[in-house]
């Protein structure tokens, strides 16, 4: 519907925004109900989500497994921290590649925006150095070249953040 933005904030945050043509309730449900999550949070074309556990309650477990159908895949684990129906999800997640990535603490807000919803996902990484490593210079500007490399990368190290 509208272009996604991905920006850094302060020393340790990454903020993603995106507008959707759906109510906050619908967008929130698409982020919390496994049957709905499985229909879109799939990563690159051809990948599937054989396991999707999302216990939408404080302390609830999150486990999502992705597969490329050819024996390759990876998984994500996490815990729900706070849920405010149709407006906010707070959770922590880490990817296992298979070694775990540093914990990513994520606050996802669903704000009414005209007929639709503004989604704001604010990620907090453990410290400035971790984020600096992730966001080494050129990220915002080097996207085109990255897309050209994407096919090669997705076959081995694909990622999809649970929002």
């Amino acid at each position: 519907m509208s272009k996604m933005t991905l920006k850094t904030e302060g020393d340790t945050h990454v903020v993603v925004t995106r507008r959707f043509a759906g109510s906050p309730e619908a967008v929130y449900r698409a982020h919390t109900e496994p049957e709905l999550i499985k229909r879109w949070m799939l990563g690159p074309p051809g990948w599937t989500m054989p396991v999707c556990i999302n216990e939408a309650k404080p302390g609830g477990k999150i486990r999502i497994e992705w597969s490329d159908g050819k024996g390759a895949g990876f998984y994500l684990t996490g815990e729900c921290i706070e849920l405010v129906p149709f407006s906010r999800i707070v959770h922590v997640e880490r990817m296992h590649l298979p070694d775990p990535t540093p914990d990513n603490h994520i606050v996802t807000d669903f704000t009414p925006d005209g007929e639709g919803t503004l989604l704001t996902m604010r990620m907090t990484l453990p410290d400035a150095a971790t984020r600096a490593q992730m966001l080494a210079t050129g990220m915002e500007h080097g996207m085109e070249a990255s897309y050209a490399r994407l096919d090669e990368i997705v076959s081995t190290a694909v990622g999809a953040a649970k929002g």
Binding site: L6, V27, A30, W40, P98, P102, Q133, S146
Partner: protein, 114 residues
Amino acid sequence: MVNESLNYAFSALADPTRRAILARLATGEATVLELAKPFAMSQPAISRHLKVLEGAGLIVRRIEGTKRPCRLAKQGVESVDRWLDVLRSALETNYDRLDQLLAGLKPENGEEKQ
């Protein structure tokens, strides 16, 4: 190959001392002695961390007399950087798919798809 080096890189980044060392190296080349100074750690302990970072391809070391100054390895840092590119691209693909799902969930469509 990419996956393997990324695994090493993230293992290396899992340790706070190693992240602090990288942050220091982001400001320029440094010797073991210089790196050990801000930490309450012995030189051999710092050297072990440097070995992990070197193995992960995140730093490179050169020989200068008896010293072995370290600096960030551009390639290694870029491989971690690429992880975020993948994240961005995966998010964009996912959100395009969510647009379609939301179109199907709209009440005016008469039925809610399961």
